[in-house]
Symmetry: C2
Subunit: 157 residues, 2 copies
């Protein structure tokens, strides 16, 4: 193999990664946009609000603001501002922590939990529709491949 | 097959789509966060600025503000505000269109093109690193699977 071959091979591989990333980003963005639009139309809410409620639903013992910020997967939301709004609407509550009275945790109220569950069921239906382009076997394949990527990303970022 | 079997199967499949989406979103977010951080550290710039320059680089004849907004893949950027900044820095320029003097197109200046090319080469290196968790064959596999998803998303959104 000549140096030129190696260079060509490397350059093709580089390009492959970039194309793959752009395609991945464009699919993710398209799904996100669709979900944003339907959340607005059907529930008058936003993706950062939905995402914040989803994180709290997964953590019944509540999360600190710091943990909440780290876990949010979508951008565009100001965690403190959204928490204030959701608290004013009675969907979440702040509680002082026993072990450190200067900090507090946020958790869902029973009303917040009920409202989130209703939205989540509908949201799951949208996701099923959007990913119906893949057979169950293909979904499993992508899920497994993403596990490999995730491990690599954890090690390298 | 009983109704119950069918229901169980459907519910498993629903869950599969949701898990897959959350994993896809978490990988995309992790890559994006990493790129945001490195763009800031190494070039003192943001992802929406980089993305806007990238779109213009792919369209040498320029884009209207409307086309530009539609093509941007990352959120968090105010297209007009970013364009103003980049114009003030001499990286892009606005031009009145011959066919419609009320609207204008935005394009890269020669300096903008040079600066973008330098950043893009470094950016591509980061992407290659981040996706090194997949072999070239696995990258091809995901790329092909994403093509199927993309077609389905275009039809259903």
């Amino acid at each position: 193999m000549t140096d030129l071959d190696l260079e060509t091979r490397l350059s093709d591989d580089d390009h492959q990664a970039l194309k793959l990333w752009l395609r991945l980003l464009s699919c993710t963005t398209r799904v996100e946009d669709h979900i944003r639009q339907r959340l607005r139309q059907e529930f008058g809410t936003t993706l950062p609000r939905f995402d914040l409620l989803a994180q709290l639903e997964r953590h019944p013992d509540g999360l600190t603001m710091r943990e909440l910020s780290k876990r949010l997967m979508v951008t565009g939301g100001n965690v403190t501002g959204i928490t204030d709004q959701l608290e004013a609407e009675g969907l979440v509550q702040r509680e002082t922590r026993a072990e450190d009275r200067r900090s507090f945790i946020v958790r869902l109220t029973p009303q917040g939990r009920r409202q989130f569950k209703r939205m989540a069921a509908t949201h799951e239906g949208w996701i099923v529709e959007l990913f119906a382009g893949w057979t169950p076997a293909q979904k499993t394949q992508v899920h497994d491949l993403l596990a490999l990527l995730k491990t690599h990303l954890k090690d390298s970022t």
